[in-house]
């Protein structure tokens, strides 16, 4: 890597989030926790309605990063769940390069990632490490 600075692509915008999006994710992941799709169950638990699965928005954010730097190049992805996401929310995924360096003879990049709601509130904060091929 010769001081080359990676430029992140445009943020991705997803939504408004529908109950169908949530159910599709639950089916794909195997997490069938009813609080995310059963209206009566969610209300009985004290919530106004169903809410999204944290791993769904964490997955959207991971997709943004992996679509940019290549799915085969990810080496670490760590997500912290902050605000809940509700049906109707519009989510924006973006990130910046925190560090470019070499490790194990490969070029690597650390990213600071964020998935925000339309309110500006942070739904997921994440950190990722990717190998950057051919520049190591």
């Amino acid at each position: 890597m010769t001081g080359q600075v990676l430029t992140p692509p445009e943020p991705s915008v997803f939504g408004p989030v529908t109950r169908t999006d949530i159910v599709r994710y639950q089916g794909a992941s195997g997490d069938m926790q009813p609080i995310h799709h059963d209206e009566e169950y969610a209300r009985a638990a004290g919530f106004p309605t169903v809410f999204s699965v944290g791993m769904f928005q964490a997955g959207l954010l991971a997709s943004w990063a992996a679509d940019w730097l290549g799915p085969e190049n990810v080496r670490r992805y760590r997500a912290r769940f902050k605000e809940q996401v509700w049906p109707g929310d519009v989510l924006t995924c973006s990130g910046v390069v925190a560090r470019e360096y070499e490790a194990h003879g490969e070029g690597r990049v650390d990213l600071d990632l964020v998935c925000t709601r339309q309110t500006g509130g942070v739904a997921v904060q994440a950190w990722a490490t990717f190998v950057v091929p051919d520049v190591g």
């Binding site: 599709r24 992996a66 992805y77």
Partner: protein, 149 residues
């Protein structure tokens, strides 16, 4: 209350076949149209795909029961995946088991204790090589914290 005696204990060893169709389904469900997932003959898994380890466990991770985490009060706080090389590809057969590695308390902002439980899953390939790790942190709030108006 989570069971502190569970720290160091592991759940059953399970097997996960990484399937191409499941990778496509998961990629679409997480907003990716990347041909590397959708068209490749042997795609790698998306970064958070290994969460599908829940499927052979029947939906509720048995190690959560081991740690006595109340799924009604338990919230997912953090999730991390580490790959020791490129992520596993379709066709791989992974063996995995989950260990409760840590349990600690913090004071909640509204009073009441929050108990954090950390569970680490190690995924090995057919040669026994450690190919990926998942670190799952859940938090259970005490009833006192929720009794606030």
């Amino acid at each position: 209350m989570p069971n502190r005696g569970a720290v160091g204990k592991s759940g059953a060893e399970l097997v996960m076949d990484v399937e191409r169709g499941k990778i496509r389904e998961f990629a679409r469900a997480t907003g990716s149209r990347n041909p590397a997932y959708l068209e490749d003959e042997r795609p790698v898994v998306p970064p958070t795909f290994l969460t599908t380890q829940l499927i052979p466990q029947g939906g509720d991770a048995d190690v959560m029961q081991l740690a006595a985490v109340d799924l009604q009060r338990g919230l997912h706080a953090e999730q991390e995946y580490i790959f020791h090389g490129p992520p596993p590809r379709a066709g791989a057969r992974l063996t995995f088991s989950t260990t409760v590695t840590d349990m600690y308390e913090k004071q909640g902002r509204r009073g009441g204790a929050m108990t954090f439980v950390v569970m680490v899953t190690e995924f090995r390939d057919e040669a026994g090589r450690l190919v990926a790790e998942a670190r799952n942190t859940v938090v259970e709030t005490s009833p006192a914290a929720e009794a606030q108006p």
